[in-house]
Amino acid sequence: MGSILYLLRKNIKNAIVDTFRHPMKLIVYGLIAASLVYAVVRGFTMEVDVDDMLDSRILYGAYLALLYFISIPIMLKGLSTGSSFFTLSDVTNIFTAPISPKKILVYGIGKQLATSLFLVVCFSAYGSMAIKMFELTIGGALLLVGGIALMLLIVQIMTLLIFCICSSKPSLSIYFKLFIFSLALFALGTTTAFMFSTSMTLENLYTAISEEYLEYVPIIGWVHGVVFGLISGSTTKVMIYSSLLLVLCIISVIVFMHAKLDYYENVISRAESYYEFRESIRSGTMSDKVLMGSRKIKLRKMGINKGSGASAIFFKHLREGSRRSRFMFFNINTVVLIGISAVIGLVMKTFFYKYWQITYIYIADVIICSYVQFFFSAAGDWVKELNKPYIFLIPDSSVKKLIMAGATSIIKPFCDGMISFFFLWILVGGSPIDALACALAYGSFGCIYISSNILAQRIVGISGNRGVFITFYMGIMIVLMVPGILAGFFCLTFITWELKVIATTVICIPIIIWNIFISFMIFLMCRNLLNNIE
């Protein structure tokens, strides 16, 4: 164990030293710390009117959702037999050392816990806000933060238990998976059932998410019960739920002590793919190999069949797209987008429609979906092309190569926008022109993402520092977006009450024009980007 402790000590020390050697990292950490301090100070100093105070049932439901959000992914990791507890260097150096597998497992899970504790620090910053918004005492806020820490601890112990059992009997993992999903489904199912059995009002939603039977859910509900039992002074509740948790922990520890662990083989291949994934994020070289993992590729149509010179890149992207998804531009991202768009639309229509116009639904949908699109754009064809030398070697003009390499990344958001806003229009109604305008606005944000990426690559260099690149990329993106959004809302001020039915389109048109115009200008400005790899 001494060697593991030494490794941990040195890792922590070197991480701190490394932070001071990389000013950008230090600035980012400084900004996170400053924002957390700001959140605490703002929480304590903000003036909240009695009318603005939130229903305590929201806190009850939101806290339960938070516990689910923290615990379910960690428990699922336990099922994948330790995939991300260990890095590739752990595998090559620690697994081969004469150290007990149990100690190594505790080390792996301990590292995971340290990462999770960062979450507690982040959420604790919002404790002060909760004090004001929900009229909590400081003790109550501390209990909420303590509850998260307790949840993390128990969920790690549970992960140990799941891991021990599944590594010796992998066939049992399906039952654990069912158990973990049933925990989530119970909460979702009972809430949905309550809403359908009553009526779709905000009041009923608050009641549904604060029902006491949600605390019957093993582990997550029990932790929730202990915390809210302490806050409300319900000794019986605290005693019952804390006893249940204690028994579960004792059983887990006993199982762990008696388990014969042989998990190295399971971990190795996963550690390798996790290493590749991490490295690709670190270096900004996302590839299909990393994204698709061990998924079998269906070849379907063969050959590139079209294109000459730079345009061959575009047709190559089409062929690659057809291998990622049968429907080329419509893939899992499209499905996720339709889902998000539909949920936002339905929730807003159901609960807020009395107060808000349909314009708000469409605009909120454009904003949230465009935000989600940012994460999808990180793995666009254009980004992947830069990781290989061919685009730089092809004997054609740089601007042609730039346009052809970016074409699919431009077309895809427009296709996604069309389909998801078509579904939204079916669900919430309104004018089809509004839906079309929103789809185009969503697509035009895709142009902004790719042009910001190109401009950031131009400034920082294709092989430049990733941290600096991302900072520039985000900064440029915000600067490019703002004029279009401001112009959209400025045009809205000219809309009279009679013309309010076209408000969505009026906001979207300036955004679309600006986004496409500025993106085109950036493509022209950066036309020499592909002259070299730097």
Binding site: L299, G309, P389, F392, P395, N532, E534
Partner: protein, 237 residues
């Protein structure tokens, strides 16, 4: 023909290539030799037009950044980077289309066969081992019938058959008058066919020898290599 004149490449204050000048004629095989970190790969990347640099590089009379030069240049990177979702044959097709090649199929067939990739033609880049991926890189670079070929550590990861076949291809390219540059730190892998050797250290060319000179003088190349690289000298030998 390749003409490198006063090539200097800097990364901030670090000088990766320091005022390198050399020429490789048609049908010559030049070897860039040197220990790890000597600047061989950086020089190769500069010649391939992938990096910014100071100085001049000409490929058959054209600036290496020009489209004309790119048309004449084949580059095999040290780390193979195939397209994960394209099959072996589609790599050939893509290169043929991107370089606007005519009548390329027969040549592609021949290259694939010689690199023993013919039974893997419908396998995607993702499904291939590192060695196979390296073979694709070689096929792609040679498909365009280049006048200048740059090989960056070409033998690393190849199986014995592929090494034998690649060496045979090098002789054939040489016969056809193709200018070849190979970067390596393993002198014995190139001893059969080099015409010119440039021994690099700390970004500089510390020694330049021609085969006929070495054969005449009886100078031991390996001894010269170690003399330069182990004493970390700075003056030209």
């Amino acid at each position: 023909m390749l003409n490198v004149s006063h090539l200097t490449k800097k990364y901030n204050r670090f000088v990766a290539n320091n005022n390198m000048s050399f020429m490789v004629n048609e049908g010559e095989i030049a070897v860039l030799a040197g220990p790890n970190g000597a600047g061989k790969s950086t020089a190769i990347k500069c010649i391939a037009g992938l990096l910014r640099f100071d100085g001049e590089i000409e490929i058959c009379g054209y600036s290496n950044k020009s489209i004309e030069a790119k048309r004449l240049l084949g580059y095999i990177p040290e780390i193979p980077a195939p397209f994960e979702l394209l099959t072996v044959w589609e790599h050939m097709e893509f290169i043929a289309r991107a370089y606007k090649l005519k009548d390329w199929r027969e040549r592609a067939e021949m290259l694939i066969k010689r690199m023993e990739l013919d039974d893997k033609r419908d396998k995607t880049g993702k499904e291939l081992s590192k060695g196979m991926q390296q073979k694709i890189s070689i096929c792609c670079a040679l498909l365009i019938e280049p006048k200048v070929v740059l090989f960056d550590e070409p033998f690393v990861g190849l199986d014995p058959h592929a090494i034998k076949e690649l060496k045979a291809m090098l002789f054939e390219l040489k016969e056809k008058g193709v200018t070849i540059i190979i970067s390596t730190h393993m002198l014995d892998s190139v001893e059969e066919f080099w015409d010119k050797i440039l021994i690099m250290m700390n970004g500089r060319i510390e020694a330049e020898r021609e085969r006929k000179f070495v054969e005449k003088s009886g100078e031991n190349l390996e001894e010269l290599f170690f003399k330069i690289t182990e004493k970390n000298s700075t003056g030209a030998v």
